[in-house]
């Protein structure tokens, strides 16, 4: 027990000693210290969020052959601050026909739902908000609050574009939560626990889940992007069709909260991919298991990597159409996720007692074969569909000649 392994405990003890010396009861002091801890965590996350604004703008600029912000501070790193000042100075508008309570609550809930998520992120072996034994369930539930905030915003804005955006979000949410939950069932099953910290710790001993279920990780990433409403699934926003979708009527810092919420949400899901499938806080630097600071670095680093992947997708592909999106989910992702769950379950129980290497390699191979079969099926299906589509036209041409 020292500063490097458990700085939180050290701080807790120090503060407890301080409060006790002031004559505070131990219970009351614990409550105050926990509250301080919550405020500290939220502040740290919000500071990270400010950094994300800069990261996003800079990375996008590089994708697009541009320089990006480069005027305020070195490499433009202070750019978010003028942005925030601008947003705060803007007029705060609530439209005349809007449902005021829902309209003003929505941006707060949007950012709040992301902050809820950070309660269960295990930043290190000793640094975490709470170790819920239903952590994954909590993750899905808190994500749904974010969706709710978008529906509230769309519904209360008294705007047709916003309403269309909200409709689309409902369709999106109902659809993509299913493959997401099923994808989360796979690490649950492998680790035998729903606690996120439990899954993280389990990977310390049994290797990264990515090697046991690469397809599960991919499935989670895809459904997370859909859940986030990021391109190519940004139908609720649909800038070129419904202008800005659910947040069209928001101005100033209310819009800023949605924006910050979206960035942080993407980063948070990136961090969850890292925690659930890429070994939590002890990968890529193994000292993370004992050193809390290295552990925090590990988690944030992996979050940043997967956030970068999500950005990469966003700024490369066009938006998918709503019927294609629903077809992709219900006709492809849902059946695939359930089949994958069953296949993983069967081979997990067959191979788990064979030792580390046979088990890991076997599971990886099973995933590879499963993915290959899937692609082959898709190809033959696509070929059949194309032939079917082309058949009548050739018949018509023959008749024509």
């Amino acid at each position: 027990m020292n500063f490097w392994t458990d700085p939180i405990k050290l701080a807790f003890d120090g503060l407890m000693g301080l409060f006790s010396s002031w004559g505070m009861a131990a219970d009351a002091a614990a409550v105050v210290i926990n509250l301080l801890g919550i405020v500290g965590l939220i502040s740290a996350v919000m500071v990270l969020d400010i950094l994300l604004v800069w990261v996003e703008r800079k990375v996008v600029a590089r994708f697009q052959d541009r320089l990006g912000p480069n005027r305020v501070g070195p490499w433009g790193i202070l750019q978010p601050f003028p942005d925030i000042i601008k947003l705060i100075l803007k007029e705060d508008i609530t439209p005349a026909g809007a449902d005021k309570v829902a309209f003003n609550l929505a941006p707060i809930l949007s950012l709040g739902s992301v902050l809820f998520l950070w309660a269960v992120v295990p930043l290190a072996a000793t640094i975490y908000g709470v170790d819920l034994n239903v952590g994954l369930l909590y993750l899905v539930a808190a994500g749904a609050v974010g969706t709710l905030s978008i529906i509230m915003a769309g519904w209360s804005s008294n705007n047709k574009y916003a309403l269309v955006g909200a409709y689309r979000m409902v369709a999106n949410m109902i659809s993509y939560e299913i493959p997401m939950v099923v994808a989360l069932l796979i690490p649950t099953m492998l680790a035998g626990t729903m606690s996120i910290k439990g899954i993280s710790d389990f990977q310390l001993e049994h290797g990264l889940f990515f090697f046991l279920t690469p397809l599960g990780a991919l499935l989670f990433l895809i459904s997370a992007i859909a859940e986030l409403g990021r391109s190519p699934f940004d139908l609720n926003e649909g800038e070129s069709e419904i202008v800005a979708g659910f947040h069209i009527e928001y101005s100033g810092m209310k819009f800023g909260l949605f924006y910050a919420g979206e960035l942080l949400h993407a980063f948070t899901f990136g961090a969850f991919v890292g925690v659930l499938f890429f070994g939590g806080y002890a990968f890529p630097l193994p000292w993370g298991a004992t050193n809390a600071f290295v552990a925090v670095f590990n988690v944030l680093f992996k979050g940043m990597v997967f956030y970068w992947v999500i950005m990469w997708v966003k700024y490369t592909v066009p938006r998918i159409r709503i019927d294609h999106m629903l077809a992709f989910n219900w006709k492809f992702l849902v059946p695939v996720s359930f089949t994958l769950l069953m296949v993983t379950a069967i081979f997990h129980s067959l191979l788990k007692d064979t030792g580390f290497w046979p088990y890991t390699l076997g599971m990886f191979l099973v995933n590879l074969i499963f993915g290959w079969l899937l692609l082959e099926m898709l190809r033959s299906r696509g070929r059949a569909e194309r032939e079917q589509a082309e058949a009548p036209s050739t018949a018509a041409q023959a008749a024509h000649h």
Partner: protein, 580 residues
């Protein structure tokens, strides 16, 4: 050269008493009595094979107390246009039968003539104002209509140069100098009597119904005028059933500045910089058509080198136009500017050349009657050669691979926005969209202008008439443009670039002319009439954006609202020339 020639069928003999040849000096074509217009028009379409109407415009002959409507029609199998006219006495109400039943593509153009000249087209399905606003009084293109701050009929205005000093008329005249409104009308207090009725009068398909015990309503959504994907201030009123478009109507005129009236006040030469503002992406191509029409009347031959320079600039312009289209299309599909900026990189290099030769990147003002304004210097020529021979072929290939191999892109484009070839011709669609429907009609081959008959190039054709084919066709066109450019750059010779001396005033003989070119967006035509003075008597522009938008509703009904955006993007409108 391309003046309408005497047809093998002499209409005057075929319809004695109904059709006469236009015998006015400098004029050509046929004058059809308005009672028999539809009958003769049907004959022209069905028996003579002029299946597409390209231009329809009105002319106000104030002195002769006559309103005339001119029609230009062409055969999609090639050949020059046929001109015919219908005349009516200039006493309100002026009535001329509508030809929408013969050529549906006349719909918007007849509305425009009604809006600006007050000619009632009997039998038109939806005769409303189109460019002017609903409360507007009067018909602004009539010769006796005076605009606000009116001073004189023709420029240069004497008041601008009192004792040689520059002064703007607007700084003197107070607002409302000679602005006329309907009696009892105050623009500051006016609200439409029934706004819903006025805005959505045409949306007759709107209804609510009870389905499975639930009352469902259609939603009326205004796409525009402030909308990121309408490429300006275009508005489309869409009735949606969930996400599906039930009906959609274009509403335009937000950028209307009565370009044609300004053109009649200007001197002949002053109009050239104004043409740059029509399709502001292709200012190099716009003036070509105007110069062609005026040169036809003046009988000027363009020097050899100038012809080559015109082709080089025109084809470079076509390439950058299609590049912008791809970029903006991807924006409309929701990919956040990445492909757009890749396409813009190549476009910037082309604009560098425009800047070097003309002094401006977008408003080039480069063509003149009888040539171009200045020669291309050696350094720019070297730049063009590097671009055309070395850089662009590879880069275009790269962009094509990046775009057309994307799965989401293909799924968004394939089979969407179908318009049959028959409908394409009937709705007067021209340009890439017509060729993507399997009709190999390109004015560069069908009715050659300039020196296009010297080059070896193909007219690309695609047959599915969906968005994906329209995309591929434009990509093919870029490759053909590069072929033309490579030949032109090898063949170009030294010599003068302007016939005669540069001059400010031109004497244009009495008469009419219709100049048409294959602009990147479709047929761009200028119908000009001269009465021998220093200004055009009539200056009409047939713009591809305006006519191509006629078929939009046909393509959109039944698709998703997200498809509407892509379809509109592929119609390739630009508001500068849509609203004029």
């Amino acid at each position: 050269m391309t003046t309408p020639v005497v047809e093998a069928i002499n209409l005057a003999e075929k319809f004695p008493g109904k059709v006469t040849a236009d015998a006015r000096p400098g004029y050509s074509g046929w004058i059809i009595s308005k009672e028999n217009l539809v009958e003769v028009a049907t004959f022209i379409r069905d028996e003579m094979g002029y299946d597409a109407l390209t231009n329809l415009c009105a002319i106000d002959y104030l002195e002769q107390k006559m309103m005339e409507v001119t029609y230009q029609v062409f055969k999609t199998t090639g050949g020059p246009v046929l001109t015919f006219k219908a005349q009516a006495e200039r006493v309100d109400p002026i009535e001329i039968p509508s030809v929408v039943s013969v050529w549906p593509g006349a719909e918007l153009q007849e509305r425009e003539a009604y809006d600006l000249y007050g000619i009632r087209f009997v039998g038109h399905p939806d005769l409303r104002r189109i460019l002017m606003w609903e409360g507007f009084d009067g018909y602004p293109m009539r010769r006796d209509w005076k605009e606000a701050f009116y001073e004189e009929d023709a420029k240069p205005l004497k008041s601008r140069w009192p004792e040689g000093k520059h002064k703007l008329a607007e700084t003197r005249a107070t607002f409302g100098d000679n602005v006329a409104f309907k009696p009892g009308f105050d623009p500051d207090k006016w609200i439409p009597s029934d706004p819903e009725e006025l805005l959505y009068a045409t949306l007759k398909n709107y209804k609510s119904e009870v389905k499975d015990g639930i009352k469902t309503d259609h939603v009326v959504v205004n796409m525009g005028p402030q909308h990121p994907s309408t490429h300006g201030v275009f508005r489309a009123v869409a009735v949606l059933d969930g996400e599906i478009v039930v009906s959609i109507k274009p509403v335009m005129g937000y950028l209307h500045r009565n370009h044609e009236k300004i053109g009649e006040r200007n001197t002949w030469l002053q109009n050239i910089p104004y043409t740059d503002r029509l399709d502001y992406f292709n200012s190099m191509y716009n003036a070509w058509s105007y110069a062609l029409a005026v040169e036809k009347m003046m009988g000027i031959t363009v020097p050899e080198r100038a012809e080559y320079i015109r082709v080089i600039m025109g084809e470079l312009s076509r390439i950058q136009n299609h590049l912008i289209l791809f970029g903006m299309l991807w924006n409309d599909l929701g990919s956040y500017f990445t492909p757009a900026l890749y396409a813009f990189e190549e476009r910037e290099l082309i604009l560098d050349i425009f800047e070097a030769v003309s002094g401006s990147r977008m408003m080039c003002n480069y063509y003149r009657f009888g040539g171009v304004v200045r020669d291309i210097d050696e350094a720019s020529m070297k730049k063009i050669k590097e671009l055309v021979f070395d850089r662009l072929p590879g880069k275009i290939e790269e962009i094509d691979r990046l775009l057309s191999e994307n799965e989401i892109f293909v799924s968004r484009m394939k089979g969407v926005g179908y318009l049959s070839p028959e409908d394409s011709i009937a709705y007067s669609v021209t340009g890439p969209n017509l060729r993507a429907a399997g009709v190999p009609y390109d004015i560069r081959r069908a009715d050659p202008y300039g020196i296009y008959d010297r080059f070896e190039f193909d007219i690309p054709v695609r047959h599915n008439s969906d968005l994906l084919d329209r995309y591929h066709l434009r990509m093919d066109e870029i490759h053909q443009s590069l072929r033309i450019l490579q030949q032109a750059l090898k063949q170009i010779t030294e010599g003068p670039v302007l016939a005669g001396k540069p001059q400010y005033t031109h004497r244009v003989p009495v008469g009419e002319a219709y100049g048409r070119v294959e602009a990147p967006k479709g047929e761009l035509g200028y119908y000009v009439v001269s009465n021998g003075k220093g200004n055009p008597y009539r200056y009409h522009i047939r713009t591809p954006s305006f006519v191509n938008i006629t078929s939009m509703e046909k393509m959109c009904v039944g698709t998703k609202i997200a498809d509407f955006v892509a379809i509109l993007g592929m119609v390739d409108i630009v508001l500068g020339e849509l609203d004029r």
